[in-house]
Symmetry: C2
Subunit: 129 residues, 2 copies
DNA sequence: CTTGACCCTATAGTGGCTTCAGGGTGCATA
DNA sequence: TATGCACCCTGAAGCCACTATAGGGTCAAG
């Protein structure tokens, strides 16, 4: 499998795959005579794992931790659980922050009566006073 | 007013104020004999405006646009309205994305029965198959 | 033998700051 | 007068997770 195939199979940009390799998240694959990277099923599995973790909002450091944990099958699942729980809390905090923003923006837009800047409620709300 | 005072009054880090100046968001203030920046009320107003805009999630480019618009009092408020509306849409999209994440994470955590990694539902959900 | 899709490396850029290294200023206190 | 300390200065690098760009090499088909 060449890097373009892996890219299509995982929906990851080619540059991102090379970036993950440089970051040590994916082991360096073997090369063809023409210096092309050659991947196998293990690489595909690992990259899929990384992508799903990223899609769930984990940072690359958290992904690293999850990869390490997933390798040690006899270990307790507690650390994984804690990472996921922390991530859930972080997502919930972000949602709350954004909802507060949403309310503020909606309220500003509600007051705008499309006149001139001089009487614009939005600018007024931003300006100090 | 020295940069530290402005920092305290607006809740902006000193380094960030200098960064805004370098970015052209705040005009370069005059200096004391000892080369300290000296700010006045106009600077305070402008920085407050920037911070409130940033708190509402506008990018620095959007803040630049808002600052330009706010200077032209006779102009129509339509452009401001459009910026705010765009920002609201963007916030709403982010909320939806995060809520989808929240559901996924919560569902994963719900399935975790705190055993070993080998039987961990979270790792399982991340691994391909 | 050329075209075009694909691959390679190395480096810089993105946004919005933050941190660091290495200094200078200014006021109060011993 | 010396010294300590809080504050200020500049310029450059670092952060995250990529993305983009420049400048080239490989390989199969027509």
């Amino acid at each position: 499998m060449k890097i373009g195939d892996l890219s299509r199979l995982t929906g990851t940009r080619v540059e991102t795959i090379r970036f993950y390799e440089k970051e040590g998240l994916i082991p360096a694959p073997s090369r063809t005579g023409g210096n092309y990277r050659v991947y196998d099923q293990a690489h595909l599995n690992r990259l899929s794992f990384i992508r799903r973790s990223r899609d769930l909002g984990f940072t690359l450091d958290q992904v690293r931790a999850l990869l390490d944990l997933s390798d040690d099958h006899s270990r307790s699942c507690g650390a994984v659980d804690e990472l996921a729980r922390e991530q859930l809390r972080s997502v919930e905090r972000k949602i709350e922050d954004l909802q507060a923003l949403q309310r503020e923006l909606a309220s500003l837009l509600n007051q705008c009566s499309q006149g001139t800047i001089a009487e614009c409620r939005i600018i007024e709300a931003l300006a100090p006073g």
